[in-house]
Symmetry: C2
Subunit: 160 residues, 2 copies
């Protein structure tokens, strides 16, 4: 997928996130996209993202659910407001709560698919449910409550 991910529309000053910021050299650089009414991101864990030998670290799974869900929250809010992503006022969501159920261990060496669905948009809050799977097998389910970052924490565009 060569189109821009949700995270590419975050303000540059807020693009250092370890999970999904393009400016974080050490980070995971997760990118999320629309797929109809759902959202999707693909990620191949690195060899050191290990829990017990052969399986993916649960904290990594929590991390990709987290970043995919806050990205989904921003994209869904732009869509609900009838706006193109990246238009002003800029939107960036942070995580209020994260819940992950680990269904079965995810094997290392496999490319994982994170899929998100918006459950609710209410005021500044968006609830996103997510799955992490490969080849139709679901390894984890998650739910994230994302909240819009307060305006005073958002960077201003030059000249404004």
């Amino acid at each position: 997928m060569n189109q821009k991910g949700f995270q590419d529309y975050y303000p540059d000053e807020l693009s250092y996130c370890y999970g999904c910021g393009w400016r974080n050299e050490e980070g995971l650089k997760l990118k999320s996209y629309w797929d109809g009414e759902e959202t999707v991101a693909i990620f191949k864990p690195r060899s050191y993202h290990i829990a017990i030998p052969g399986y993916v670290y649960g904290g990594l799974i929590a991390s990709i659910i987290d970043c995919h869900s806050t990205g989904t929250a921003a994209a869904a809010t732009y869509r609900a407001e009838g706006r193109e992503m990246g238009t002003e006022p800029l939107l960036r969501f942070v995580t209020a709560s994260l819940h992950v159920e680990y269904i079965r261990p995810a094997p290392l060496g496999v490319t994982l698919e994170v899929r998100g669905k918006v459950k609710e948009i209410k005021g500044r809050k968006v609830v996103v449910s997510a799955t992490v799977s490969a080849g139709g097998e679901i390894y984890a389910k998650g739910e994230v409550v994302a909240v819009k970052m307060p305006e005073h924490m958002m960077p201003r565009k030059e000249g404004i």
Copy 2:
């Protein structure tokens, strides 16, 4: 703290965890200890464990809660059985579910304290609640349901 952490008693073959395995060169190498009836781990996030500038990545906070809680589950089960850590049969717990509430953003550059409490031990399952704080200020609260790793996944000691 120079004494052995809970994770130092894990079987060597299961000590590759990104969050707490001493054999994972890239990992966080979290170590957990008893402090009376509670458990504690300290961790200073690295400069790239960033969410938005100045604050710690939420996935990192979820990760240290996860590893501290599964370690706490093992230590508490040894204690409940009146056994020294590392005695046979070896105990290693994995995460069934992880829940994190992000109370306020944790500043980067600060050493975080993860504290755990055992809420319940029932059969193969241990429920652990945790906080992540610094200087008495709580940044996140978590709850982990940890389950004992099935015997067939545990390594055997040589000669057994």
